[in-house]
């Protein structure tokens, strides 16, 4: 009974929201520039999780962040790039930042493997593309996956401009070396990606990649808290985002 009632309320809220969409649409685009919109949003919401990746500190070339992430989330390890599942991985500078200047880039930057993961965009194209709401944005800014609801249409993969999403082309279980019982594995036919460790955040822990890094490359925190460590880092250093021209407003920042 209560369940039905809740569903009904949710649906009626949807109808009312629908009416609001038109006016919202106009005001949204009337605002014009991203900054104005962002500042307005800041006052309303309390949390937007974000990350700064300080590539200057990433020198040892270890892959502890990747290992920790993949262990925590039961990410399978397939031997071929076709079936590959990636949550956090390393790639070249020019692949991570194809729209940044590629001429006369310092050799150490050009040759360094850059860490990359889901950007947890403020305006995620994947969420917009998903026909069922299987991928959605939480109010803490995390773009989350609901594996139970995903129909496997892979529209989110076509929509993501960062290649951050992976599809389970086959049963992942046989390809997981050590299964962590606290986190589910996936089955074939659903899409997955980095979730900023929202299950760990709920326990007050840092994301496992952040915790695992011996060089303190990764700073994680609330972008809406002006006094947070991450905001301090953002204030003190010039940072870049991936493909900012697309207006997705990534929550992952890089110091190159």
């Amino acid at each position: 009974m209560t369940e039905n009632r809740r569903k009904f309320l949710k649906k009626s809220a949807g109808v009312i929201a629908g009416a609001g969409v038109v006016s919202g649409f106009i005001s949204k685009y009337a605002t014009g520039f991203a900054d104005a919109a962002t500042e307005k949003a800041v006052t309303k919401k309390k949390i937007r999780w974000g990350m700064v990746i300080d590539m200057r500190k990433c020198v040892s070339g270890c892959e502890k962040c990747i290992d920790a992430c993949h262990l925590t989330h039961n990410v399978p390890d397939f031997d071929n790039p076709k079936d590959e599942i990636k949550w956090i991985w390393k790639s070249d500078y020019h692949k991570v930042f194809p729209s940044k200047s590629q001429q006369f880039v310092a050799a150490e930057t050009r040759e360094k493997p850059f860490l990359t993961l889901c950007n947890h965009c403020e305006n995620p194209p994947c969420v917009k593309a998903c026909p069922t709401g299987a991928t959605f944005k939480q109010s803490d800014g995390i773009v989350e996956m609901d594996f139970h609801r995903c129909i496997g249409c892979r529209f989110c993969m076509a929509a993501c401009p960062y290649g951050s999403r992976s599809f389970n082309w086959r049963n992942p279980r046989p390809a997981i070396k050590n299964i962590t019982p606290d986190y589910p594995t996936r089955e074939h036919g659903v899409v997955e990606k980095c979730n900023f460790c929202s299950e760990r955040l709920a326990k007050g822990q840092q994301p496992s990649c952040v915790e695992a890094c011996p060089e303190k490359v990764l700073t994680f925190g609330n972008l809406y808290d002006k006094n947070s460590e991450i905001r301090q880092v953002l204030k003190d250093n010039p940072t870049i985002q991936r493909k900012p021209e697309l207006g997705t407003n990534p929550s992952v920042f890089y110091i190159t």
Partner: protein, 383 residues
Amino acid sequence: MIEKALKGNKGYWGWVAFLVAVILLGLYSYSKQLSYGLGVTGMGRDVSWGLYVAQFTFLVGVAASAVMVVLPYYLHDYKEFGKIVVIGEFLAVSAATICLLFILADMGHPDRVLNVLFYPHPKSMVFWDVQVMNGYLLLNIISGWTVLEAERKGVSPPKWIKPIIYLSVVWAISIHTVTAFLYSGTPGRHLWLTAILAPRFLASAFAVGPALLILISFILRKFANFDVGEKAISKLSLIATYAGLANFFFIGVEFFTAFYSNIPSHMHSLQYLFVGLDGKSQLVPWMWFSMIAGLVSVLVLLYQQRRPSNKLLIAACIGIFVSLWIDKGIGLIIGGFVPSPMEEVVEYFPTFIEISVTLGIWAIGLLILTALLKVTVAVKQAA
């Protein structure tokens, strides 16, 4: 009325048996796909859509093109289309049906397909696509069937069918526009991120559909002793000619913008398709063949407007069909994924299982079309 599809000669039943065999092969392959996952296909992390979505896109065009016979006949009272209009609608029915089947075949979790309706998300173009495709299928079944039924009874069609037919005209434009929006709204895929995609889709659809109808007309003339009329065929070829010209004009416009602006990301996909990128050039011969065959066919069509020749017409229609199938059914979808958002050039090869599922679905469409046309011809010949 459907019982008329159950009477036929040996040739008819041979054709049906052949289609059923292909369908069974497709079903067998699909069962493999269901148990193992979509990993049995050539799709992968970088090229995450392939043959299935490509067929879907192409066939939405075929479905939408029914409007090219419905509109002249019902709105402009072009009587010469009297015999072909129902054929056009039934072609739309079979194309729309297999469009939906291709989507189903492409899904990782087909058992959850109703989630699209249980948790509707109108911001997603897929939501709208599901609505318009199903709606269009229904509109065409109703209008085609009702009009044919009336013809069988020798009465004029009921009045309520008119608004439905008019609605199907607008609806036809909407299905291909929404299908184009599936692609042209994605921020990271430059081949798709273009305002001309919807017009280009419509133009190519209106070339392929009439070309296919012409071919069907000749097949019916040869095998079913049924003639849709010379005038209808020549009008259809005129439509296909100019729609084809518009399509190639739009493609040219695409090239200009990409290469004159010289913006690398805008050029990459076109480079991959037409000259190759990073040493990978698997689709280059296909794309050039598509362009040349398409242009030559359109010119032949134009030429035979003055000097009608059935042989040339048939060759040109096949040319247009193959050309635009490659262009839209392969180049456009695969090209959208190459290079990947991380500038990787990964090539895609469909697997045997994928190809046989695809053929199976096409066979389902042909079976539906065969049955519907059998009924149509039987009714029209009796009348």
